[in-house]
């Protein structure tokens, strides 16, 4: 390899550089000399917000080859000024977590284990169950004959970790379906 020029022999570098004890530039390896920070190699940097608590710290997401390679605080945020707590600092691991489940799983009644379903089938099955339970739990009138127009057959829990837009669609769909039992962490 080209780097093995005789002039690059450590002892020569030691003499040439004056670093006679071999503690400085004389001993740097080619890897060391070429070092660059991982985030500087990113294809793009995307502005985001930390997903944990409600302070709303700014994050910068570094993406390379369609993979998140680093997430750091956004120094421009007037809320957080580039800083993150341990959870925020761990967000890259959250995204790339080894224990993250990326496939749909289904457990049939009485089954002892999961099986895989494809996404489309799962959504279709859920839609069927949604419609059926909605009908089963329908209440048109109360005992005094006043309109209720609702279903008690379906409930939902969650939202505080979701986006406003997502909560909006959930509330909209459930309300249109007459499902009223919607709750989230704000009340827990």
């Amino acid at each position: 390899m080209a780097r093995l020029s005789p002039l690059e022999w450590p002892v020569l570098r030691q003499l040439r550089s004056g670093d006679s004890l071999g503690r400085g530039p004389a001993v740097t390896s080619p890897t060391t000399r070429a070092v660059r920070p991982r985030n500087a190699t990113a294809d793009r940097v995307v502005q985001s917000i930390c997903p944990y608590c409600a302070v709303g710290c700014g994050q910068l997401v570094y993406v390379k080859d369609e993979k998140v390679i680093d997430i750091e605080g956004d120094p421009n945020s007037p809320i957080s000024r580039g800083r993150l707590c341990p959870k925020g600092s761990a967000s890259e691991q959250l995204v790339n977590a080894p224990g993250r489940q990326k496939q749909v799983l289904y457990r049939a009644p009485k089954a002892k284990d999961w099986q895989h379903l494809d996404l489309d089938t799962a959504i279709d099955m859920i839609a069927d169950r949604f419609i059926e339970s909605r009908r089963n739990g329908w209440q048109e009138l109360d005992d005094q004959g006043r309109k209720l127009r609702r279903t008690m057959g379906i409930a939902s829990l969650g939202g505080a970790t979701l986006d406003n837009e997502e909560n909006y669609l959930i509330k909209k769909l459930f309300t249109a379906a007459g499902a009223i039992q919607i709750e989230n962490q704000a009340r827990i």
């Binding site: 761990a90 409930a155 970790t161």
Partner: protein
């Protein structure tokens, strides 16, 4: 917070729960601000505070009430502010009776229903004797309108409705019926001695706290309070916050820089999920969900939100509601069909998560969506939660990993105890992988109402998808399956606007959803254009908008939440970063930052002021007030709406424009915060004969037994107070932290924190095992013996507290797992908010690991039997009977031998 001169962190552990937010506290402290932490434990917040004051969990109203008393009796209140901006001078109805007169109850309590009739709490009426009649003949009392029974949550952005804004005032405050005098009498017995007795706080610490607050309030200085779930998770949680609000109003610490009461919320969009609620009782923008018998017609509904004769911006609720209905049902919503008002389902009572749980156990609820939440670990009485899920026909869990709520059917604690057998469970479970925050675009609303947009960094992996994508496609599928339906009840679904633009993968565009939330002109010259502020919303169907308080976030067709000017720009209010609701205001009620004449209270605390030359309010923020309303303006209050606001009515969302020291309505458990003991408590209420909040919401069930409260038989069986909390290193029920090796290694195991005195009493060793038993469950935890938890002397007797972080759960998929603290917690709720009391319960603690299998159930049952706990315990009667047979407290640790049960 960075502008405060004194910061009181009580009911929240900010350094641990919000480390990055805490930088502003650190900064204030470096500038010389005093920081005081009031908490049962010496936490990481305490480590940095000037002083930590240990308090018994659940006794905060005693302390705050004593501070109010201190301020009133020593004449330390901010006179100009209180007189001009609060209802101190307003007269209360003659029918009102205080807790001082009725042994801890207010007037109007009905023991049969456990609820108050709010009529007698009303303001006094002009021209009457404070009684019920009004000139028009209708029940015109302020306390009697249709939203009486509304939960406090429904008034999230504004006060509750009053019929009108005409009130009687005595500016001298001498009339015994003024709010000021009522307040004085109510808190007269909340003394430093009472604080010592019930909270375990020394008089020296009380004086330090009182002096710190009062010396840092007034024209030149401000004090801020920060709280979190340490205040909300009680049977009187809303009243904890109310008591701080009263104190802050008396000291002039609302609406000014470095003032207020900051809710330090725990989830990225917990504020957003209240504004655009995934909550049963609300529609977007804090419009109430209609209730049967109350809101049967659209007219009733609108009248119930806000009378046209009251002051402020809530009077336009009709425009907000109609715009919402137009956004949802588009062309189908017309004036003729009341804008599809009847498409909205009706409530008939509380339908919170715990009522839903009971519905599951009764097999009424068939299907359940769990979205980024982990109720098997994070909800109170975890065993009840898991058993309830086993009654479902189908369960959809959407999360990043296989959380305990997705795996309880094969590895939950009830499988181990033998209560459930996997092969017997009929529930179908769908696990749907979710996208992380970087794999989808959207907005979070953080704790100070700031919306911040996240851009999408990359596509979700595998089959993972966002909630937006999932629910959009689920909605499409449901609509397609019902397309041919002629059933009338399917029309709301079929006529729903559900046509969002999609990308190449069929995923909906989140900005289009944000635009719908913001609203647009439907017809007229600007048809199709986005609305810029909620004042543009109309009642004639010419505007549509999904959440009125968010109107402006998409003004000019620009995503204002995505603004990212470094540092927020040069203005002190940092306006150019994200977008704050309402109308991009950073401090609410900021009219109060100027004196009644419109001048800054002081140069140091200058923020918004009246500019005589320009004839408008100017300053460092968007004025939270009609921009051109002069300080001296005194419009006829009867014209109603924002036009009726006087130039010194800073509280523009309150029906009378004033800050409420006394709440004539809006809260269902009392117009003034009153100390009651937690639902279960080993301490007797020394302030009143009434032990617990009479309006507490209880679930009297075998699977939710309470521990006998102080003074009743069996109270020695669960002698200690436990309190739950979170740690910096973990996130709520662990779904986003226990799967991460880097966080798991920092706090790898469930533990409890106890004082050396309790360790000695129960033979517990540091880093050894302990079993903690409540009437609901028994869990095991490692032991940390520490001076950070103090044994307090309450009513002359030692009270030990057990600290329990609640992040762990039982399963095999997380990097770390352990028993869940929430299994111990009983379900008893605040009637205003339906929030459970997680912060104070009764338990016992013994050395060693818990038994396994059936032996675990036997242990719990044995304790219940020894305590004599039944479904009536702590639930019946609601009103404590002073004649009831009581027992004298035994010394700690002594076991009642007469029943023949030995301690396990």
């Amino acid at each position: 917070m960075a502008n405060a001169d004194c910061i009181v962190l009580q009911g929240g552990n900010m350094a641990e729960a919000h480390p990055v937010g805490f930088q502003w506290v650190s900064e204030a402290k470096a500038r010389g601000a005093r920081v005081i932490h009031v908490d049962p434990r010496f936490t990481r917040t305490g480590a940095i505070a000037d002083r930590h004051i240990a308090i018994r969990a659940g006794s905060d109203v005693v302390l705050l009430g004593a501070l109010i008393n201190h301020v009133l009796s020593n004449d330390l209140w901010f006179k100009e502010y209180v007189l001009a901006y609060t209802n101190a001078a307003t007269l209360v109805s003659e029918d009102f009776r205080d807790t001082e007169e009725l042994g801890g109850l207010f007037s109007g309590f009905d023991p049969a229903t456990g609820q108050y009739d709010l009529q007698s709490w009303a303001y006094a009426e002009a021209g009457g004797d404070g009684g019920v009649g009004s000139p028009s003949g209708q029940a015109g009392e302020h306390g009697s309108s249709k939203s009486d029974r509304a939960a406090g949550d429904e008034h999230g952005s504004g006060g509750p409705s009053l019929e009108h804004a005409e009130v009687l005032r005595d500016e001298t405050l001498q009339d015994p019926r003024t709010v000021f005098q009522v307040l004085k009498r109510h808190y007269a017995r909340y003394t430093p001695q009472m604080v010592q007795e019930l909270c375990g706080i020394s008089e020296d610490d009380f004086t330090y706290l009182a002096d710190s607050i009062t010396q840092n309030s007034g024209r030149d200085r401000t004090t801020v309070f920060g709280y979190a779930t340490g205040w909300t998770q009680h049977t009187l949680g809303a009243q904890f916050i109310r008591s701080a609000a009263i104190l802050q109003l008396l000291l002039g610490n609302v609406g000014r820089p470095g003032s207020g009461i900051m809710a330090l919320r725990g989830h990225a969009s917990i504020q957003g999920s209240t504004d655009i609620p995934t909550l049963f009782n609300l529609l977007p923008g804090y419009l109430p969900m209609p209730k049967v018998g109350v809101h049967d017609s659209f007219e009733d509904y609108l009248e119930g939100i806000a009378s046209k004769r009251q002051k402020g911006y809530w009077t336009h609720a009709d425009a907000y509601t109609i715009s919402l209905l137009k956004a949802w049902w588009g062309e189908h919503a017309t004036a003729d069909n009341d804008w599809c008002f009847d498409y909205l389902p009706r409530l008939s009572g509380p339908h919170g998560t715990y009522q839903t749980t009971v519905g599951m156990l009764a097999d009424e609820v068939e299907g359940y969506f769990v979205l980024g939440q982990n109720p098997a670990v994070g909800s109170a009485n975890g065993r009840q939660q898991r058993l309830a899920m086993s009654h479902l026909k189908w369960l959809v869990v959407r999360d990043l990993s296989l959380i305990e709520s997705a795996t309880w059917w094969k590895e939950g604690p009830e499988i181990d105890s033998g209560e459930l057998r996997t092969e017997d469970i009929d529930t179908e479970v769908f696990f749907m992988p979710a996208a992380t925050h970087v794999e989808k675009a959207g907005s979070f609303t953080q704790t100070q109402r700031l919306l911040q947009w996240r851009h999408k960094a990359l596509a979700p992996p595998g089959e993972a998808q966002s909630e937006l994508d999932f629910f959009f496609k689920l909605g499409q599928r449901i609509r397609a399956k019902l397309a041919d339906s002629t059933d009338e009840r399917d029309r709301p679904l079929l006529e729903l606007t559900w046509d969002y633009p999609v990308d190449g993968h069929g995923d909906p565009d989140p900005e289009a959803v944000l635009a719908e939330i913001n609203g647009r002109f439907v017809s007229g010259p600007d048809a199709g254009k986005p609305l810029s502020f909620y004042g543009q919303m109309a009642t004639d169907g010419s505007t549509a908008g999904g959440c009125w308080i968010y109107t402006g976030v998409y003004a000019d067709g620009v995503n204002q939440a995505a603004r990212r000017v470094p540092g927020g720009g040069p203005s002190p209010s940092q306006h150019e970063w994200g977008w704050a609701w309402p109308a991009d205001r950073r401090i609410l009620y900021n009219r109060a930052s100027a004196d009644p004449d419109g001048k800054p209270w002081s140069e140091r605390k200058k923020y918004i002021w009246w500019d005589e030359d320009q004839g408008k309010w100017v300053g460092d923020d968007v004025p939270d007030f009609p921009e051109d309303r002069a300080p001296g303006a005194r419009p006829d209050p009867n014209i109603g709406g924002p036009e009726a606001l006087a130039g010194d009515d800073p509280f523009i969302m309150q029906a009378d424009g004033k800050g409420w020291l006394y709440a004539p309505k809006g809260l269902v458990d009392g117009p003034l915060p009153t100390h009651y003991e937690p639902w279960e408590s080993p301490v007797a209420n020394s302030l009143y004969p009434q032990q617990q909040s009479p309006t507490r919401v209880v679930f009297a069930r075998e699977d939710n037994l309470g521990a006998p409260s102080a003074g009743t038989r069996g109270d020695e069986v669960y002698p200690y107070v436990f309190t739950t909390y979170r740690l910096t290193e973990h996130h709520t029920a662990g779904g986003m932290s226990r799967w991460l090796p880097y966080l798991s290694e920092l706090q790898p195991e469930m533990f409890c924190e106890i004082s050396p005195a309790l360790a000695a009493e129960r033979g517990l060793e540091n880093n050894g095992w302990a079993t903690i038993i409540s009437p609901r469950a028994a869990i095991e935890a490692k032991v940390l013996v520490t001076d950070r938890v103090k044994t307090l002397t309450i009513n002359g007797r030692a009270v030990h507290q057990v600290g329990l972080p609640y992040h762990w759960g039982v399963g095999t998929h997380a990097v770390v797992s352990g028993d869940a603290a929430n299994d111990l917690v009983g379900v008893a709720l605040d009637p205003n908010t339906q929030i459970q009391e997680s912060k104070a319960g009764s338990c016992d603690i013994v050395a060693g690991r818990r038994p396994r299998g059936q032996a675990l159930l036997d242990l719990v049952a044995d304790y219940q039997r020894r305590a004599g706990a039944t479904v009536d315990t702590d639930n019946v009667p609601r009103v404590t009977d002073p004649e009831a047979e009581t027992v004298t407290p035994r010394p700690d640790g002594e076991v009642s031998g007469e029943d023949g049960f030995s301690r396990w």
